[in-house]
Amino acid sequence: MKDLIISGKMKMADIINHDKRALVLMPRFGIELGFGDQTVREICKNKGIDTDFFILMVNVFLNPNYFPDRKLKGLDVDMLLFYLENSHKYYLEEKIPYLESLLEEFKNSVDHPATGQLEKFFGQYIEEVKDHLAYEDHTAFPYVAALSEQIKSNNPNIKDIDYHIGVFKERHDNIEEKLSDLKSLLIKYFPPSDDRYLRIRLLNELMDFEDDLINHARIEDKVLIPIVGQLEQKIS
């Protein structure tokens, strides 16, 4: 698929038709489907979303080679946090429970002693993902919010906050390794199961989740971390 660079004049529906990965982004910005032929700019205006921010995020999410550097200044940090927290919510409330239910079904459809172990393995993986998300939700994001608040209130007093984004950078480790193992096991090593479509559904969902997490991590690396770095400089 050819990379599409999004602009404000494009119709939102065209973007989703061009790249289905844009679909999951809608709820993360609080955009509901059913927007007819409205353009990106129109929808953002109605929803009170900064259009430049929306365009930047979609471009980073859809295109691994997109470098947003020069557009980061003046970006609304609260909007970014809103987006990131919504992404996490989607993983925790929608994606992970669905994956868990598919795996449960798979376990019941395959009569093999290894399925118990697979479930255990999957459980460990989900715990890792949840730990990672919880760390960001409860430690990293509140820090960024407090930082942004202090700058807005013109009361830079960073010493109150015992944290800096470098820690986040270090902790932002790969949680994709286990997912890749899960895929190998399901593609290459499990014996044929009774319900072949279930297995394909499960694999599809796993790969979809994997993609989403990779794109999400790119947003954090290319947008969140540099922005917070800039904020930290302002204060120190």
Binding site: G116, Q117, K120, F121, E177, K178, D181, L182, L185, P191
Partner: protein, 195 residues
């Protein structure tokens, strides 16, 4: 399980002699004879023999290669030789039986053909783990550390690590938890051995 054999030879006296000697090996539950090459392919397709003993005069290099493809390539082919044949052709057989061979020697040759069969059948894929890698994998999924594995197998930790790298590369599984599932799937360990 009994093996099956086809003997393809024009000369009745030699064919019957081979049947006699092969019966005495005691490994075959079916021995079939054929006197001309024309019916050979069909016979092989039908009976899927483990071993074919054939007069090299009945094949060319091309037709021999075709024979090798039959039966999923698992059939061993020996030449029954009592005349001079092209070296190139002879080198393509799994075994060569000479008309001057003693009964004992012929039986040994047939034995060794059968012995080779299982290994030939399994024909390890490139990505299969070596025996040493399997040893490391088994201990690894039982929860042993690199150091413990090296002590147990009398190899250096460096070697353990390089085995682990190869295991991961071949299986495309990195985590110990993932390898554990693999080990159970392939019956390398039992569920009870995993805590």
């Amino acid at each position: 399980m009994g093996k099956s054999l086809i003997i393809a030879e024009q000369s009745e006296i030699i064919r019957k002699g081979l049947v006699y000697i092969a019966e005495a090996v005691g490994l075959f539950n079916a021995i079939r004879e054929v006197a001309c090459a024309s019916a050979l392919n069909e016979l092989i397709e039908r009976f899927k023999p483990d071993v074919l003993i054939i007069n090299p005069g009945m094949v060319s290099i091309e037709s021999l290669e075709t024979l090798k493809e039959l039966n999923d390539g698992s059939m061993k082919i020996a030449a029954m030789v009592y005349a001079l044949f092209d070296d190139e052709l002879m080198s393509r057989f799994d075994e060569v039986i000479m008309v001057s061979d003693t009964r004992n020697k012929i039986q040994k040759k047939i034995y060794s053909l059968i012995d080779k069969t299982p290994a030939g059948k399994q024909k390890k894929p490139e990505e299969a783990l070596s025996n040493r890698e399997l040893d490391v994998l088994k201990l690894l999924v039982k929860g042993l550390s690199n150091k413990e594995i090296s002590d147990k197998l009398f190899i250096s930790t460096h070697t353990v690590i390089s085995h682990r790298k190869n295991i991961t590369r071949k299986l495309n599984i990195k985590s110990v938890a993932g390898l554990t599932v693999y080990a159970i799937l392939n019956e390398l360990i039992s569920i009870e051995e995993v805590q």
